[in-house]
Symmetry: C3
Subunit: 397 residues, 3 copies
């Protein structure tokens, strides 16, 4: 009998040394593409502020194009997005003293109240690469010297090739893309680890979507061979791992005899989960066959993430599109993105206080957490840099 707090040496103690970079990535992985806003959330001449990896970023749309710059005026440090001020199509103006910066390069173009100021042309705001695809505005957040930014595709899930009814990829032409995003009160890593974890089905087994569709969700899935987890390492492309639920490498449990618990639901159901750098999930054939759920867990700071839940379907006609909209609005969003995933959000937030008080050293991982350990190692190996805490570079008065 080991005292509480001892951890299985096989799974964690030795492994922890192998994912040290992951343990340090409290503020996320930099030099990566993250979703910032849905396209529909930023209209022409709107300015909105987001915070990603602790960086405050202003987004503006001008003549259709989206630009991203640091959201603190270089003059006296106010957030420009607090009072959006668009005076020309090529600039963003700080509402306070009128410091006006080029959207394209961030250079100070003029000062409203000081047109001949020596600072003009001499100082600038940091700008960020932007890619707007599939109705989502992505921003590449990281070091300014990290150039050029890799293609967006490298930070998205792979295209599925081992499934004859493969789900669409978010960048496919026929993809129907829709979703929500909201704030989660936990570190981003707890969110990622919750996403693909094969052992957390207990929190879902009485959810509305399961009950309403009489699905047999099972109690858990255990890896039984080495093939249970497939490493994904596409050259110049996505890095991640996949739980191979469609093979015999996993054993599914519908009953636990020790405590006399049986899974409910009669209809068998298949879905598969995979996770990718810098921290996003793909669930194939969920919430319905042929659909895919993408989830991003975008670090806001070390205690909060923006939780993105995006569904990707395939529509080849206006009728299919109409049907997809109907399903999304009356079934998928209320029962899957909300009721079902509310439980996941609850679980991640419930872990936060333990992990922010040293839980990384005190957790006791078990058999199905192999997937978690593999993910931590992959993330440690393939990330493009660890985001520094912004508090290290500031002076507190």
């Amino acid at each position: 009998m080991e005292a509480k707090g001892n951890i299985s040496p096989n799974l964690t103690a030795g492994s922890a040394r192998q994912y040290q970079p992951y343990l340090e990535a409290e503020w996320g992985f930099k030099n990566s593409w993250y979703p910032a806003l849905f396209s529909s959330e930023l209209e022409e001449n709107q300015i909105k502020g987001v915070t990603i990896l602790g960086r405050e970023i202003a987004l503006r749309r001008a003549r259709g194009q989206v630009y991203a710059l640091d959201d603190r005026c270089a003059h006296r440090g106010v957030r420009m997005s607090l009072r959006p001020t668009c005076l020309t199509d090529e600039t963003i103006t700080c509402w306070y003293h009128g410091f006006t910066y080029n959207l394209r390069d961030g250079i100070l173009r003029t000062i409203v109240a000081s047109p001949d100021d020596p600072l003009i042309g001499k100082i600038r705001l940091r700008t960020y690469p932007v890619a707007e695809r599939a109705g989502i505005i992505f921003v590449f957040v990281g070091d300014e010297e990290y150039q050029p930014a890799p293609p967006l595709e490298a930070d998205l899930p792979i295209r599925i090739s081992d499934d004859k009814n493969a789900v669409a990829h978010i960048l496919d032409e026929q993809a129907y893309v829709r979703g929500i995003h909201r704030r989660g009160n936990s570190n981003w890593r707890l969110a990622v680890e919750n996403g693909f974890d094969p052992g957390h089905l207990l929190i879902h087994w009485d959810n509305q979507i399961i009950a309403a569709t009489d699905r047999n969700l099972g109690l858990g899935a255990l890896p039984v061979t080495e093939d249970a987890i497939k490493i994904i390492d596409e050259p110049g492309g996505p890095k991640g791992m996949m739980n191979m639920y469609n093979t015999r490498a996993y054993k599914f449990f519908g009953e636990n005899r020790e405590i006399g618990l049986k899974a409910r639901g009669k209809k068998p159901y298949y879905a598969r989960t995979s996770v990718f750098l810098p921290g996003l999930l793909l669930v194939e054939h969920w919430p319905a066959p042929g659909w895919a759920q993408y989830e991003w867990y975008v670090p806001i700071d070390n205690r909060h993430h923006e939780y993105w839940e995006v569904l990707v379907g395939r529509c080849t006609s206006p009728q299919e599109r109409q049907e997809a909209e109907y399903l999304y609005e009356h079934f998928f969003e209320p029962l899957a993105l909300k009721d079902f995933n509310d439980n996941d959000l609850f679980a991640r937030e419930a872990m936060q206080s333990f992990y922010e008080q040293g839980g990384w050293e005190r957790e006791n991982l078990c058999a199905f957490d192999d997937a978690t350990i593999v993910w931590r190692k992959i993330a440690s190996r393939f990330n493009r840099g660890i985001q520094e805490s912004p508090h290290r570079r500031t002076i507190h008065s």
Copy 2:
């Protein structure tokens, strides 16, 4: 004339060295019995979480019996009480991944999603001794090695032997016990010291119970001989002190001529206060003759305590019991436990910011604070250990 901040050397400066352990007991005294819940607050198969001395503890009732265990699942640290899950009568299950622990010894019995896991039988949660008496669930909080726990009686008030109309003891068979508990926003020591302090009557002199019953509360009570305070040191039993208001060792003031203030109320009234380790108060003949008020100030953390207000009467027949209920509900709870004691709670909370900023070194104690100093010394001498701050054993990320 001394500058502000100087303290009377007689009363405090020298004394402080004699109660150093008390000054260190910011998180309370461990290895002691504390009330956790009223019995009526925990029904069969309910799980509730409490925090005592900074420790998060889950309480569950199964087949009538109450069990107490650490309220953080050993797997990933979520509080089990957040989503009570009772799958058998002998276990408690974490809602997240189904880690299931024996109630009796805390050993991991199974994992819902991993029935053959190597962790099973190898890890466990800390359990705590529980005593359910007089309608209250008490938990013994302290070091696991501290065994056996002393009897509950040792951490309760003494039985009164010097009063022919002695109030009942809470464990008496005929005792009628009823009360409330609520959170107080101050360190537990400020709460204790407020309870028996003979000099704080000014905050009560216009209270509803005093006005409605025309009681002469007086302005204060001053110790005039060495016998004013009696040390209580029962072998293997309660440790504490009693203000001997029923002797000539105290002088009661009904007037302060310097400022022309006279106590109101015509009916003389007798009550007596005593205080015991680990921090509880007995007020005899309050709020009415023959009744006793027990108060516990249970440390939640270093800035909050759970304030327990319990009345103990004596009932020998159903009629007396009915009368006691009537008095409790329409007189004692609204006028004593609430209106009257609301003032005490207010006063303790008003001291908090001063004491958390070094007030223990800057206070200026006066004549009636002898009682406070005696208590500090007794507490320093008889406690069974000082609870460590939980922050010392955690790593902040």
Copy 3:
């Protein structure tokens, strides 16, 4: 092209060394007069607590006279103003145990519950000089040894002598004085600097008072000669600086051609701003000709200030007074003190997070910030002492 974060060496880097005391004055300048309450806010026998420079001060009016003392009872540190207790005309009594102090010298006069206590006459509370003028209660906050306090006039704006239609001084017999005060969530220095800054007109150009009166506010004012700023250094009197808007030393901008922006409003308008130690603003001929606006930014702590907005008019007859009241209530307070100055408050608060994270080192000052730099130097040179952080003198438990 300099990287963001570099600062113009001409304006700031070199200058910063010349205003180091200002940078250290996070908690304000001590040994100065500050407004605490309007006279109308403290009636006979009322006790109110204020916090100035981090010091908690109780104010009581007795027989018409206002007294100020430390608002923490020397006994156990509760704020006396939490439950005002006035038992005599010469004392203030703590509501908890009845410690009763002389209003005049702060000496402990009696203890309600301990009339013969050895502490009586031996301990005392710090008292503060009070001046009640023009309907405002001013308190002199600083070192007890700093005696005598300079005259109130030394910490008020100068009397205007270079204007034939000079605005009234707040202490003039004919002065009509009225205003409001409210809490601002920023360091007091950001508030001062916002007040006289000639470059922040962009936040005002669409304000209701400007639109309703069709005033030409302009886009900014640039100093063009050395005479733009006049240093004020009256012997034994006010110290500060004045933006000489009434001379040719300033160039006013109504247009910025780079971005095609023109100021609205057809009616030319004249106002002049000056700022004085310990941190107050005078705006002449605002919000209407002949009126003056006084603003104090009283440090509460290092992150909050009390924002005082006071209008001073001149009334020589009851009719003029009636007219002034009408204008104040229906024009000046809603359109100037509220709508217009709400924008200033917003701007100061927007700077706070940047400056509390090292912004003083990272700001990029521009041409019109000359005024700010001059103010910082003047404040560094003429202040009567830097208030210490209260946290340096306390012990955190």
